[in-house]
Structure formats: structure tokens, C-alpha cells
Amino acid sequence: MKISAREQSWNLSIFMLVIGLGIWQAQQLPAFGSYELRTILLGIIPLALLAMGQSIIIIGGGINLAIGAEAVLINILTAKYGEGVSFTKALVLALTGLIVAIAIGALTGWIISTSKIADIVVTLATSFVLVGLALFIQSGPGGSTNKEFSELFTGPGQNFLAPLLVLVLPLILIWWPLYRSHSGISFYAIGSNKEAAFLSGVNVSRARIKLYATGGLFAGLSGIAMTGITLSASPFASISNAATLNSVAAAVLGGVSLAGGVGGLVGPALATLVLYYIPTILLGYGIDPAYSQIIQGVLTVVVVLIGGLLRRKGSSVR
């Protein structure tokens, strides 16, 4: 499978936008160097990983409105039991968190396949369940983790290398092999046309379970990154809902089509930078960050609108 020209040009334009915003923001700072870059990367990692998970699911023709809740649950799990533990134990905890996340994802995929209820409805319901579970485990903000474990994400010094690796390694080690494998192809196949995928021998329900499990894996990574970076966890629906909405916005800005079957993960990761820069730059000018929500909303609509107009050239239904 080759990356399409459309996807390449989309990634390129998002990249240019990010560079432009980056230069703009850098000018507001007294100095820009490794430390500032580290701050930015640490700020976007949880959302970037979540947006990757959401993108995988949207590419496969689904949508997961519970993905933020899933990340928050893993965040809570690893932070609550992570207070004062050794490095090894923190690692074991993180691994357990990932397994739980994959299991939740697989279960969600199974429910959607078996019940034939729409993805939106199932994940709407599971988002309640997962937030409930998170609240059950820990009813308020709190938790911590091992210091060395946290340095896996933040790096020992003020270097930007560790956060960069946290962002890039999942792409290289998880997504790239998957993308080139049979499973990855089946994600794109069921996303663009379920019947055609079925007729060409794809086991649609198994592919869908794998799809949601992979999304769950990224949501789990995002939750663990929250623990590693913030050393705390809050079990609130407002946090998980905001994360879910931002993950959808990032996926769409990153060139993933909601119709399914189109897009990759690099674009959404870059798009989270755009979502990070808008409020930061406004704040630099002393403008109420509430305006950033307006801008973000308008930007998302405009991007989707342009994308839609480009795609619909030649189609006449109105």
C-alpha cells in the first residue's frame, strides 16, 4: 500500500500550518530552544496518542465516543496504584493498564459487531460505563507514580528527546507494522466498503474487533502518558468528553475522512499541534482563551468543508 498523493499533500499543508504557527508562537517567547520544544511536546502527547487511536477507528469506518473515558480510566488505574511504587512495579502497572485498554477496545468492537447497534450509540453508552468505573476506582483527583517511570516520558534533563520518542515510537513500532500487515489492510477495507471487504474474504467482525482493540491500545498509551507526565489523575466526565471531542477534531483536521477508509496517523498527530498552538498563541496576546474554542470550531468546519468540496467535484446530489 502506498500513501496516496492526497494524503501526502494534506499532511504537507498541515505541516506548513504547524511550522507557521510554531514560528508565530516562538516569537512570543523570550527564547526558543530544546526546553520550549519539550514543553510543547509534553503538552500534546496525551491528546496526540488519543487522536491516533481515534483516527485508526475512524479509518476503519467506526467512531469511538468513549475513547477519552478509556484513557481517563487507564490514567486512574496507573496513577491510583502507582503511589510510592518501585520502577519495575510501575512498569508492570503500565503493562496491565495497556492490557485492560486493549481488552476494553476488543469488547467494544465485539459488542458493535454482535449487536449490530451503531458505533456512536454503543460507544456513547460505554463512555458512561467507563467514567463510572473510573469514578468507582478513585472518586476525586489524586494518585502518583514512580519518578524514574515518569522520566521515561519527560526525560531526565530538559531535553526534548524523550517526549519526541514517546510520540514517534508508537507510530514506528505499532502503527507501521500494522499498516503493512493483513490486519492494517483489512481496517482500510472495512472502512471504505464493508460489503466489498466481506466479499473479498475479510472477516469483518474479527477486523472490527482488532480495529477497536488497536484504538484501545493507543487510548491506553495516552492514559499512561497522562500518568507519566502529570503524575496525577482526575476521574471526571468533563475531562474525558473534552478529550474525545478534541481527538475527533484532530483526526478530521489531520485528513482522516469520517466516511472511513481514508487517512493516516501522521496528519492527526500534527493536527494536535495546531489545536495546542491556537490557545497558546491567543494567551500570548493576552486574549481570553475562550476565543480559541470558537477558532478551533470554525477551523474544523472550514477544513471539513474544503475537504468535502474537493471530494465532491463532479457529484451532483444536493
Partner: protein, 314 residues
């Protein structure tokens, strides 16, 4: 013929679920069967029912409107702040707000082909931004609801009939009549079933969508004002927690999220089931965690039961 049997079987299913929920709640808490308690349950169900009516109409066209909660909050906020300069004036302003927002949604979705989920999510974000800024600038003032609207939202006529219940009943009759007895209603079902075929039959699909999203926004505004009246004053998060239940009520009631199938009578049942359920959860004095968990599970199970008895993809 076959579809008719299926529909009646699923309606029967909804009745059974409602009755079971009703009886179980009554057994757990005998006060539930008293007239004042019924009145309060129905009064609290009314705003959800009206918000779910808005969602039903949109979902029948094959769309979804996730900005309804913010439209509701916005309308209530405008009414509460501007009511000092006259009630009618403030209501007209809120109406204009609903029409404009619904219109923008519809134009983006119907004419420019933006995905409804993305459009309304973004609209919701935009409105949160606008009102967060507005609270300290152009919408500054007391957000206390005027007395007459508080009465309309929670006043008693004759136990268990309350003013909001009456409003809900009128809205229900209007919605049911429009959907099942008018040409516009048929068009709503038609574009939800097959927008392409409807266009080829000579219908301007975007015009139907325009009317649909605007009426949904106006209904949401009514629901919002009612919620504001029930809580006395309006906060920026007023209707937030009603968004997902509004979708859940529609889905439980058997309206397909793909459009074209279902109707408002099912949604009324869905609303009643959810209301009895939240009463039960409140009575059981369960923690917030347990409430969320059970609520989510029940919505999932009900949707699952519904899709398996009706054999339809919801």
C-alpha cells in the same frame, strides 16, 4: 406486512420495559406510586422529552445534532439575562438565536456537505466559546429566570399535571402531527431513507434539512428555557448533562441513527423509561460512579434488546 408486525412487536417491548421499570421502582420506593411523586417525575421528564423531540426530527433525516444542548443553554441564558428589557423581547431574541444557529448548521450540512457530527460538535464548541466570552461582556447581568417562566417550567396545575407537562404534551402533539400528517413530515422520512432518490424525485433536500435543523434548534430552545426555569437561574453548563440522554432516549425509542425509521412516539417511551430509571438510581442513593455505570449499561442493553427484537440496525 412483515414490517408492521415488527414495529408493533418492538412497541410492545418498549411498553414491557417501561412497565417493568415502573413496577420495580414502585416496589423499591413505595412513595413513587403517589400522585405528587408522579407529578415530579413527569415534570423532570418534560425538558428531556422536548430535547429528545429535537434530536428525533434530526435523526430521522439521517443526521445528528450534538449542539442541541448548547443551543438550549444559550436560549435559556439569553432569556434570563435579557428579560429585564421585557419578556417578549428576550423570548424573541432567544428565538432569533435558535433560528440563526440551526440555520448555520443546516446550511453547512445541507449545502456544503459537512458531516453532521463534525458540524454540530464544532458548533457546540463555538457556542461554548461565545457564551464563555459573552458572560463577561455582551451578556453580562443577572441570569435569574423571570417568575412567569419558572411557573411555566415547574408550576402545578392539578396534581400530577404540571405546566411543563402541558407544554410537553402540546409539543408532542405538534411534532407527531407534523411528522405523520404533513408533507414536510413525509419529506423528513424520505430524505432519511434515501436522500439521493428524494433529490431525483424533485425535492430540494437542503431546504428540508434547513427546516429540520431550525425546528430542532427552536425545540431545544424551549427545552433549555424549561430547564432554566426548573433550576431558577442559568449556568453555562445548564443542559450539558442532557445531551447524551437525548440521544439515548431517541435510540431506545427505536429511531434509527441512519435515518428514515422510527418516530416520536417511541422517543416519548424512551424518555419515560430513562426518567423512571434516574428516579430509581436517585432513590437507591447510589454513588455518582454507580449511577453512571448503571445508566450506561442500561442504555446499551435496551438498545441491544431493541435492535434484536425489531431486527433493525439502529
Amino acid at each position: 406486512m412483515k414490517t408492521k408486525i415488527k414495529v408493533s412487536r418492538s412497541t410492545l417491548g418498549l411498553w414491557i420495559i417501561l412497565i417493568v421499570a415502573f413496577v420495580v421502582t414502585g416496589i423499591v420506593d413505595s412513595y413513587f406510586f403517589t400522585i405528587p411523586s408522579l407529578g415530579i417525575t413527569l415534570q423532570l421528564a418534560a425538558p428531556l422529552g422536548i430535547l429528545a423531540a429535537a434530536q428525533t426530527v434530526v435523526m430521522l433525516t439521517g443526521g445528528i445534532d450534538l449542539s442541541l444542548a448548547m443551543i438550549a443553554t444559550g436560549a435559556a441564558y439569553i432569556v434570563s439575562v435579557k428579560s429585564e428589557s421585557g419578556l417578549l423581547n428576550s423570548l424573541l431574541l432567544a428565538l432569533a438565536f435558535c433560528i440563526i444557529v440551526g440555520g448555520i448548521n443546516a446550511i453547512a450540512i445541507g449545502i456544503f456537505g459537512v458531516n453532521p457530527l463534525i458540524m454540530t460538535l464544532s458548533m457546540s464548541a463555538i457556542l461554548i466559546g461565545v457564551f464563555t466570552v459573552g458572560v463577561s461582556t455582551f451578556l453580562r447581568g443577572s441570569s435569574r429566570m423571570p417568575e412567569i417562566l419558572i411557573t411555566m417550567s415547574s408550576g402545578l396545575i392539578l396534581d400530577p399535571i404540571t405546566w411543563p407537562l402541558l407544554v410537553w404534551a402540546i409539543v408532542s402533539i405538534l411534532v407527531l402531527f407534523t411528522l405523520h400528517r404533513t408533507g414536510f413530515g413525509r419529506l423528513v422520512y424520505a430524505i432519511g431513507d434515501n436522500a439521493h432518490a428524494t433529490r431525483l424525485a424533485g425535492v430540494k433536500v437542503w431546504q428540508v434539512q434547513l427546516a429540520t435543523y431550525i425546528s430542532a434548534a427552536v425545540l431545544a430552545g424551549i427545552a433549555g428555557i424549561m430547564l432554566g426555569g426548573q433550576s431558577g437561574a442559568v449556568a453555562i453548563s445548564l443542559a450539558n448533562s442532557y445531551l447524551l440522554p437525548s440521544v439515548a432516549a431517541v435510540v431506545i425509542g427505536g429511531t434509527s441513527i441512519m435515518g428514515g425509521i422510527g418516530g416520536y412516539s417511541g422517543t416519548i417511551m424512551g424518555t419515560l423509561i430513562l426518567s423512571v430509571l434516574s428516579y430509581l438510581l436517585a432513590v437507591l442513593n447510589s454513588s455518582e460512579a454507580l449511577k453512571q455505570l448503571i445508566y450506561g449499561l442500561i442504555v446499551l442493553v435496551l438498545a441491544w434488546i431493541y435492535s434484536s427484537i425489531s431486527g433493525q440496525k439502529s
